[in-house]
């Protein structure tokens, strides 16, 4: 059995090689993270590890990966697999490394920097890592140690242009490679921005995408965040998102997971100013032997805030999904209004979901509710539709599409919504409920 503490050592040499090319300001940050990574390792033991109780990270952690190398890709290839609009600010990454920014929008005041560069203004550079706590998270420490590429998006105060920043992380699927994308979004006061993070690609070889995103939602700002993941059965995808919302800020997250070998999205939202709110909605579809784990925490630390957590899953084949949703309402967070739910549609007797919504409430004047459902469609639903002349196949399709549509319909960016409709509707199976 492999000892977790030796995992970091395997990457020492890569670390040294990488360091030579990176700006000085990143050295202390990265050295500290490397030290932590070597101490923590990766979570290969599930026993006693609440964060990884239902997901076996051993297949992800055990292989020795080499750092993925950049290779230029034609934009047509990218446009075939990802939503795209020339007027968006499109940032293309291949194997975790930036190919370029492509946009027809020349008027935008939003700044997009490369994260590990000298041009990053010091006041923004100091935000990097500010809301990431890798002290108990080897993957986040690993990403931080290897932070060499990614985007920083800086939205000036009052910029409410609603610009769409479309980050595409295309993975070529080079065997046994790892890439560590890094994103930082800093939204100024009263600004409004749409950010897409799209993880796509993969091939027949095992690869690991180990990303970290940090999002600061400024005072009275709105950040609409879209996270898309659509990879192959051979890819591993570990995502770590940290969000901090200031007074009167709004964070709206829409996450769409269409499968990879083993996927994990650890999203933690700190609702850190009065009247701040977050609305986190997600849809996951798993099939074959895929595994998807959504690990979501909402932390209410200030009064008069709202949170909505609404996830849905469709499971087929032998696949497995995990939903861990925890809402923490601290003592100071009076008048919190929080709802969370996770609903699952299970199409195969061999598919399985572990859904564990939880609430921890330390304030006494709050409104909180949670619930989870998992199952097949009940006979009444199908009979109702058949009694109107609709056959079983059509009824099943309407139910499954409708189930997915509840999340997709709420995507306000039209190109993105129609992309998701097509992407999900073509990948969902032609299932027939039997009664």
């Amino acid at each position: 059995m492999q000892d977790t503490s030796t995992i970091g050592d395997k990457y020492e040499e890569d670390y040294e090689l990488l360091s030579a090319d990176l700006p000085d300001w990143t050295s202390d940050f990265r050295n500290e993270a490397m030290l932590a990574f070597k101490q923590i390792g990766l979570p290969i033991h599930r026993k006693g590890n609440e964060k990884w109780k239902y997901t076996n990270a051993r297949p992800i952690a055990e292989p020795q990966y080499s750092l993925a190398k950049f290779e230029e890709i034609g934009l047509d290839t990218i446009k075939n697999v990802a939503p795209w609009n020339d007027s968006w600010v499109n940032v293309v990454f291949v194997n975790g490394l930036c190919q370029g920014i492509f946009t027809s929008d020349t008027a935008s005041n939003i700044q997009v920097f490369n994260i590990a560069s000298d041009e990053l203004p010091p006041n923004i550079a100091k935000l990097v890592g500010g809301i990431v706590d890798y002290s108990d998270d080897g993957f986040a420490a690993w990403n931080s140690a290897f932070m060499s590429d990614g985007s920083v998006i800086n939205v000036p105060d009052g910029d409410n242009s609603g610009t769409v920043i479309n980050m595409i992380f295309f993975n070529q699927g080079l065997a046994r490679t790892v890439n560590h994308p890094r994103v930082l979004v800093n939204s100024g006061k009263k600004s409004n921005i749409n950010v897409i993070e799209n993880y796509v690609g993969g091939g027949d070889n095992h690869t690991l995408t180990n990303s970290v995103s940090e999002i600061y939602v400024g005072e009275s700002a709105t950040v609409n965040h879209y996270r898309l993941m659509s990879e192959t059965d051979h890819t591993y995808d570990v995502g770590y998102g940290r969000v901090k919302i200031d007074t009167d800020g709004k964070f709206n997250s829409r996450a769409f997971f269409r499968g990879c070998g083993i996927g994990r999205y650890d999203l933690n939202v700190l609702v850190d100013g009065e009247n701040a709110s977050c609305d986190l909605q997600g849809l996951y579809f798993t099939s074959g032997n895929q595994h998807m784990d959504n690990f979501i925490n909402i932390d209410h630390s200030k009064p008069h805030c709202q949170s909505n957590l609404f996830y849905k899953g469709i499971l087929d084949g032998n696949s497995r999904a995990v939903f861990g949703g925890t809402v923490l309402v601290r003592k100071e967070a009076q008048k919190t209004d929080s709802i969370q739910s996770d609903k699952n549609l299970i199409l195969s007797p061999k598919a399985e979901v572990d859904s564990k919504p939880a609430l921890f409430i330390y304030a006494d004047d709050v409104k909180c509710a949670h619930g989870a459902t998992a199952g097949n469609i009940d006979a009444d639903t199908v009979f109702y539709m058949r009694s109107r002349g609709v056959d079983l196949e059509t009824a099943s399709r309407l139910i499954i599409y409708g189930f997915a549509g509840e999340v997709i319909d709420k995507v306000e960016i039209e190109e993105l919504r129609s992309y998701l409709e097509k992407a999900f509707l073509t990948s969902l199976p032609n299932h027939r409920f039997e009664f």
Binding site: A379, D380, T381, F383, Y384, M385, R386, S387, R388, G389, V390, D391, L392, T394, L398, I399, Y401, G402, F403, A404, G405, E406, D409, F435
Partner: protein, 260 residues
């Protein structure tokens, strides 16, 4: 064309649910253009009768037959019954989260039309038809844009049932306690929808606990169902008599029959 005096014939129908016999030999003929009411106390089996005719799963027919337009329905799937002109207005209409009312109704009407050798409706034709019928049941136009029945009030759900009745325009409408939980305004609207539907080629079976809905939709025949059997049949006056004297009165008369 002459009137079909037996649109549907229920012949000595026996139905069980999980080894408990619910219907114990029902005989009932409904002719074209007729309105029948089945009244009975809770648990008498009246809803079972409507649901078995529509083909709801979960019931076992242990004896007898249901013959519709000359053919047995027992082995026929519910969607085929629907396309052949049988419509069940549900006592508890089902919510279909994410399934748009518009899309659901269009799928339903196209399925019925296709079976009857007609083309699917164009979006424009369907929109016109839907608008006309929506006004008939005074339904909020926003509701047809929403998921089927989701978040609808009890009255809105029942109106949606009547909207579907009007759209699909079946031969036989089975109304399963459509009046339950309705306030007087909703009851008036729902009854109006049924009265518009009624006609020389349309038949209606109203299943109800109370006489109230029969003030709005006048039945040609009233049957009283107690403990899985029709114990008395008559014209609309029977409903009034029943309202006045209560179900104990017919229970009593069963006793008389047995004793005589």
């Amino acid at each position: 064309m002459s009137k079909i005096d037996k649109l549907i014939e229920v012949k000595d129908l026996r139905v069980s649910v999980e080894d408990t016999e619910i219907l114990k030999g029902i005989n009932l003929n409904i002719g074209e253009g007729e309105v029948h009411a089945i009244m009975g106390p809770n648990g008498s089996g009246k809803s079972t009768l409507a649901n078995v005719i529509a083909g709801r799963p979960g019931y076992t027919v242990t004896g007898g037959d249901i013959v519709y337009k000359g053919e047995s329905l027992l082995e026929v799937d519910p969607e085929i019954r629907a396309r052949a002109g049988i419509f069940l207005a549900f006592q508890y209409p089902v919510e279909l989260p994410g399934v748009r009312t518009w899309q659901f109704l269009k799928s339903a009407i196209d399925a019925v039309r296709k079976e009857n050798g007609k083309d699917e409706l164009s979006v424009r034709e369907f929109d016109q038809l839907l608008e006309e019928k929506r006004k008939l049941v005074e339904m909020d136009p926003d509701l047809v844009k929403r998921s089927v029945n989701e978040g609808f009030s009890g009255g809105e759900k029942k109106r949606n049932e009547i909207l579907q009745l009007a759209l699909l325009d079946p031969s036989l409408a089975l109304l399963d306690e459509t009046d339950s939980g309705l306030d007087i305004d909703a009851l008036r609207i729902v009854s109006h929808g049924v009265n518009i539907f009624k006609g020389p080629e349309k038949s209606v079976l109203i299943v109800t606990h109370y006489q109230r809905i029969l003030d709005y939709i006048t039945p040609d025949y009233v049957h009283v169902l107690v403990d899985g059997r029709i114990v008395r049949s008559g014209d609309s006056k029977l409903a009034l008599e029943l309202e006045e004297k209560g179900y104990e009165w017919v229970r009593g008369s069963i006793g008389e029959e047995v004793n005589s």
